[in-house]
């Protein structure tokens, strides 16, 4: 089951610029929270703060455990995984080595042969689930943008993380690819996990999220069920030009 996330008074400033301002959020275990907002509203900053990449003030708790003071690697070890707006993989490692890399730090260094074999099977099964099994030995430079995106998602799946942070997983995808990515998310990555989904596509937010928060200039301006939030005229006005309604 996914992990419950609580955020209280989260504030992030870069010099005089405020990226996040006194943000409060509660995400129930297994929920999918959509995050929308204009460019520069703090969506990616929220993911960067939650993963520990940016230090911020305020409190963050994961299943009741305070994690705001922990550096990024310790948060990952607690079962948090993220994807990036622009797919980020190790270019000098094959696809299957990228999958293995996702587990190196969170699995024991010394493993029995049987455990190692089971892990290999798990990784290859994960690749197959995301349609990448034929590319296991390929180097990332030979993959398309869509395949790299799938690799990021397969890697996140393989970690078994309880909290998944997705930073615009369909950006750069064609309509057809976006639909296929939606299917992959719904069928494989989201079940049994808590998810925070930063996304520009309204159809994705409506279809996938149990709740939607809208940010503007680092502040929460709406929170609720996606249909209700997106029905508000001022929210639509705020997002106009930023969201694509499919």
């Amino acid at each position: 089951m996914g992990a419950a996330l609580e955020i209280r008074g989260l504030t992030l400033r870069f010099g005089g610029v405020t990226a996040l301002e006194e943000l409060d959020l509660s995400v129930a275990a297994g929920a999918v929270l959509g995050v929308a907002g204009p460019n520069g509203s703090g969506k990616s900053s929220l993911i960067n703060v939650l993963t520990g990449h940016y230090p911020a003030s305020g409190a963050i708790s994961l299943d009741g455990q305070q994690i705001g003071h922990l550096p990024a690697p310790e948060r990952a070890r607690l079962g948090m995984v993220r994807t990036f707006q622009s797919p980020r993989v190790y270019r000098r490692m094959s696809v299957i080595d990228n999958m293995r890399a996702a587990l190196h730090a969170i699995r024991p260094t010394f493993q029995r042969r049987a455990d190692r074999r089971r892990q290999e099977e798990w990784l290859f099964d994960g690749l197959a689930l995301f349609g990448l099994n034929h590319l296991a030995e390929a180097m990332p430079d030979t993959l398309t943008h869509y395949e790299l995106r799938l690799l990021e998602l397969a890697r996140a799946y393989a970690t078994g993380a309880r909290l998944v942070l997705l930073d615009e997983p369909t950006v750069g995808a064609t309509e057809d690819e976006a639909n296929r990515l939606r299917g992959v998310l719904v069928n494989h990555l989201m079940p049994g996990r808590t998810v925070i989904l930063v996304e520009h596509r309204l159809d994705m937010l409506r279809a996938l999220c149990t709740e939607l928060v809208v940010l503007q200039a680092g502040r929460k301006i709406a929170l609720g069920r996606p249909d209700e939030v997106l029905a508000q005229p001022q929210i639509r006005a705020c997002l106009m030009g930023e969201l694509t309604d499919a």
Binding site: T51, G52, H53, P71, A72, P73, E74, A76, R77, V81, R82, R88, V89, Y90, R91, R92, M93, S94, D97, R100, A101, A102, H104, A105, I106, T109, F110, E137, M139, T159
Partner: protein, 296 residues
């Protein structure tokens, strides 16, 4: 075996330690032009231990290795916060500081009627273990080869335990690695310690083979060569930097027809390989392909 061949092979073995030392940092994402400093520290420390303190050879070399690793970790701790050219300059500065310090370092003692020990720029004579123990160049080469084989076996074990893979993750994308639970700072300090220890081990063996060492031997050019060996031979496997040493010392320095033009040929070779194969001959892509073939 021909004495010239023994001498060449011994040099290849000794510089392989230095090349592996720079290679570890290269795959950890940093270029160090200062690994000769740890080679010098290992050489002086183990030379002092065996010649002045009359420690057994193995303990003296181990002491040089441990000291190299300790200083490597101490330097890596602040340097790990640097990257790219800043890291390279920091390591270069440390190496020059070490060499300049050795130029004024005097620590001499009377050992059985001989005044011996480091004498500043005049160097450190009479590291006499090979004479006293009656070690011929052949057995000395065996000691070097066995030590190198041990190091390669350790790197192989580290690869099996995913240690090298995590270092590669840190080297290629420290942000992604941190997001995957890799404690990047610890890895950078650990890599600095391992690299320092390897160079220290090579330095200790070198001091006992050469019997005479001086600060000028540990110049910037030695450090530049150490980096170049990895870049030529390839960063995909520990055999890469050793291939680099083989090409430089085994081919260019040892073939008399080429020896006079060594630096010209070597410089040109580095340039050509960096253009054609930026990660060296045995790069990660080639190694991944070979592994894939072997698995089939």
């Amino acid at each position: 075996m021909d004495p010239f061949l023994i001498s060449v092979l011994s040099n290849i073995g000794l510089f392989s330690f230095l090349a592996l030392s720079a290679w570890i940092l290269l795959i950890g994402g940093e270029i160090s032009f200062g690994q000769q400093a740890y080679f010098a520290i290992g050489a002086y420390a183990s030379g002092i231990a065996s010649a002045l303190w009359v420690w057994p050879f193995a303990v003296a070399v181990l002491w040089g290795t441990v000291l190299g690793a300790g200083v490597g970790a101490l330097v890596a701790w602040p340097a790990a916060r640097l990257s790219g050219v800043h890291y390279a300059i920091a390591t270069l500065a440390f190496a020059e500081l070490t060499r300049a310090s050795l130029n004024v370092f005097r620590y001499q003692r009377d050992v059985e009627g001989y005044l011996t020990g480091p004498d500043g720029a005049n160097g450190f004579r009479d590291i006499r273990w090979v004479y006293e123990a009656g070690i011929e160049p052949g057995p000395n080469l065996t000691i070097i080869a066995l030590s190198l084989a041990g190091v390669i076996a350790l790197i192989g074990l580290a690869a099996r335990l995913n240690v090298m893979a995590q270092l590669r993750m840190v080297g290629e994308d420290p942000i992604l690695a941190a997001m995957q639970g890799v404690r990047v700072l610890r890895w950078k300090i650990g890599a600095g310690a391992a690299a320092g220890g390897l160079a220290g081990l090579g330095g200790g063996l070198y001091a006992h083979l050469a019997t005479y060492i001086e600060p000028a031997q540990f110049s910037v050019m030695t450090g530049v060569h150490a980096v170049a060996y990895g870049l030529i031979g390839g960063l995909g496997t520990a055999l890469g930097p050793i291939l680099g040493v083989l090409i430089d010392i085994g081919l260019l320095e040892s073939l008399r027809a080429l020896a006079a033009y060594r630096m010209i040929v070597f410089g040109g070779l580095v340039a050509i390989i960096l253009i054609l194969r930026p990660r060296g001959i045995l790069d990660e892509t080639l190694v991944a392909k070979v592994r894939s073939w072997v698995r089939r």
